[in-house]
Symmetry: C2
Subunit: 345 residues, 2 copies
DNA sequence: CTGAAAGCGCTAACAC
DNA sequence: GTGTTAGCGCTTTCAG
C-alpha cells in the first residue's frame, strides 16, 4: 500500500540506454531486436517492476481488450451470478478485462449514462446480461444505432439484426410437461414465474402446448401465476389446490417456488410424489437436498455467459478483419434431471 | 450495431470553429467560457453525439475513476453476488466504474497477473472481495508493497497495516448460541462450515465460548464439521445425532446446511422445534419459507460491499490530497432473526 | 475569455 | 537491429 510511482517505458529505455521503441519491441515480442538487447531490457523490466500501460495502448491501438458487462438482480437471484461466472471465466481465457455495470432494476429506463460510461472507456464490445422483462428491450433498435461496438444480448426473445444467446425455455418446459405425462399423470397444473418475464411466458406456453397436444388443453383454473419467489409460490400453490383439486402433478417454473410447494404439501399431508408429482426448473444447488429430492430442468447459466463472451469476441475479431458481422440467435438446450419428487405412483 | 466512429474533441472544436481547449473547458464545466460559445458548443456536442474519452482523461489526469474488484465463488454461492451488488450500487453512486476479476478458486495462488491486469488499466484502488480461506492471504504483506493504490480486503481476520471490512461473525455466533440457551435449551450442538474458512472458525469459536460461559463447555462429540453445502450438512447432522443423542438444539453455520437438517429431521420424525431447536446463519431469501420457518442470523452482505467501496473511495480522496491513509478494520454487526424453528418447547 | 504548445504512455511508419 | 517523428484524445500551463 505504498505509493510507488509506476515505471514507464521511458524509465526502462533510459536505464537500458536504448530508445523507447526498442523497449516497445521487446514487450510486444517483436523479432527485430538483438538477443543481447532483449535480455538486457527484460532484466531491467523485471528490476523496475515495469508493466506496460493498457490505457496508453488502448488509446493508440483503438482497441482496449476490455468488454462491458451489464447485469441486474445480483442481490436477489443466483442466476445472474452464475452467468457472470461464465462471463469472467471465458473472458479470462480470451484475455479480455471486464467493466461491470449493474442495473438497479430489471426494467431500469435510464440506460444511456451507463452505456456512455462503458463507451467512454473504449470497450470493444458489450454483453447485455439482463433478462427480458416487461418492456425493457424497447430501446434496442433505437439506441443500438449509436453504439459503435458489437452487443450480445442474453435471455431475450430472438430477433433479427441483434445477436442473442438464451436458454431454450420453451423446450425446457416441453421436457418438464412431457415427463409428468410420461409418469402417468394426467392432471398437470402449472405455477409460472412473473409473466412479465419472457422466460416465464416461454415455460408457460410450453406447458399449454404440450398439454394440448396430449389432448388435454389446459383451462385457466389449472394455472396460477407466481413471481419466482417462495412467498408467491406458496400463495400460487394454495390457490391451485382450491381451483384444481384433481391435480396430480405440477410443473413449477423455478426451484424456489417448488420448495414452497413441497413445504406446503407436507404441512397439508399431501404425499409427494404419491398424491402429487412435482417438477421444478433451474436445478439450483439445493434442489437435490429438498425432501423429496426435486426433479427439475437444468439450465446451464454458466455456459450462457461463456457463450455470450465467445460470440462477442468472435464478432470483435470479425470486425477487426474489416468483415461484416452477422447477427445470430443462439438457444442453449436444457436437460431433464429426474429425482424423487416425480416418481411413479 | 453500426460501426460509427466516435467523435473526438477535435471534431467538436472544428465544427464550432474554436480550439480544443475551449471545448475542454465546456465539457469540464469551467467558468471561463462565454455563454454563447458554451451554448453553441453544447449543441454541437449533442449533434455529434460526442462523449469525452475517459481513457485519454485517465492518462493525463493520472486518475481513472475506475476501481478493481476481485471476487470468487459466483457460481456456487449467493454471498459474493450480494456483496457485488453492494459494490456496484455504491460505486455507481460515487461515479466509479468497476473492473471485475474472478478467482477460479478461493485459494488461487497466481494472483500477480490478475493484479497486473488491473494496475495496467490504472485502477484508482482495489477491493479484494474474496473470503479468507486456508492460506490465501499469505501474499498480502509481500505483494502489497508493490501495489501503488489503496486496497480494501473483505471478510478477513483484521490485521494491522491493512484495511479490512468484515461481518462480525463472532458476535453473530454469540447471538445464535445465546438465543438457543435463552430458549431453555442446554444441549446445544454445532455444525460448522469448512474450518479452513475464517468465518467458520469465528462462528465455531463463538459457540464454544458462549457455551463455556454458560457453564457447559462443549465436548468434541457435540460438534461436527460441514463444508457449507447441503450434502455435507446432511452427513454432519447424521453424525451429530449419533454422537450427541441428547442434543436439543443445534447452531448450524449457514442456512443451506440448516435446510438439510430440517429435511433429515422430518424424515426421522424429529420434531422441530419441539425435539430440536435449529438456528442457521446468513438469512438467505428462502429461509422464511423453510418448514418450519428458520430462525437465523442476518448478515448484510450488500452493506459489506458498499462499505468497502466507501472506504476505498475515501482513501483515494485522502491520497489525492497528499495526506497519509490510515489502515482501518471495520466489523459489521449481525442481527438475530427469530422464526419458528427455535420456538420454546 | 480564448488559443498555442507540451505531454500523459505508448506504438505505427518510416528512416538509417 | 535501432532510432526518429508523429499522434491516439485529452488536459495543463502559460500567453495574450
Amino acid at each position: 500500500m505504498t505509493t510507488n510511482k509506476r515505471a514507464t517505458i521511458k524509465h526502462v529505455a533510459k536505464a537500458a540506454g536504448v530508445s523507447t521503441q526498442t523497449v516497445s519491441r521487446v514487450i510486444n515480442d517483436r523479432p527485430d531486436v538483438s538477443p543481447e538487447t532483449r535480455v538486457r531490457i527484460l532484466q531491467i523490466i523485471e528490476d523496475l517492476n515495469y508493466q506496460p500501460s493498457a490505457l496508453a495502448r488502448s488509446l493508440i491501438q483503438q482497441r482496449s481488450f476490455t468488454l462491458g458487462v451489464v447485469t441486474s438482480g445480483l442481490k436477489e437471484y443466483i442466476g445472474p451470478s452464475r452467468t457472470l461466472n461464465g462471463i469472467t471465466s471465458k473472458a479470462a481465457e480470451l484475455n479480455y478485462a471486464l467493466l461491470l455495470e449493474e442495473l438497479p432494476h430489471f426494467d431500469t429506463e435510464n440506460i444511456k449514462p451507463l452505456l456512455q460510461s462503458l463507451l467512454s472507456r473504449h470497450v470493444d464490445g458489450i454483453v447485455w446480461a439482463v433478462p427480458e422483462v416487461g418492456d425493457n428491450r424497447r430501446w434496442v433498435d433505437e439506441i443500438l444505432m449509436d453504439v459503435p461496438v458489437p452487443v450480445v444480448f442474453l435471455t431475450m426473445q430472438p430477433r433479427a439484426r441483434v445477436t442473442t444467446v438464451s436458454v431454450d425455455n420453451f423446450s425446457g418446459g416441453v421436457l418438464a410437461t412431457q415427463h409428468l405425462l410420461a409418469q402417468g399423470r394426467r392432471n398437470v397444473g402449472h405455477i409460472s414465474g412473473d409473466l412479465d418475464w419472457w422466460e416465464a411466458r416461454q415455460r408457460k406456453q410450453a406447458w399449454q402446448e404440450t398439454m394440448a397436444k396430449a389432448g388435454t388443453k389446459p383451462q385457466d383454473r389449472q394455472f396460477s401465476e407466481g413471481n419466482w419467489s417462495c412467498a408467491c409460490g406458496e400463495a400460487a400453490f394454495n390457490q391451485l389446490l382450491q381451483s384444481y383439486p384433481e391435480m396430480d402433478a405440477v410443473f413449477v417454473a423455478n426451484d424456489q417456488m417448488a420448495l414452497s410447494v413441497l413445504q406446503i404439501a407436507h404441512q397439508k399431508g399431501i404425499k409427494i410424489p404419491g398424491d402429487l408429482a412435482v417438477i421444478g426448473f433451474d436445478n439450483i444447488t439445493e434442489s437435490p437436498f429438498f425432501w423429496p429430492a426435486l426433479t427439475t430442468i437444468n439450465q446451464d447459466q454458466h455456459e450462457l455467459g461463456a457463450r455470450a463472451i465467445q460470440e462477442l469476441a468472435s464478432q470483435i475479431e470479425t470486425l477487426q478483419r474489416n468483415e461484416k458481422i452477422e447477427p445470430l440467435n443462439i438457444l442453449l438446450a436444457t436437460e431433464l434431471i429426474v429425482r424423487e419428487s416425480s416418481a411413479n405412483q
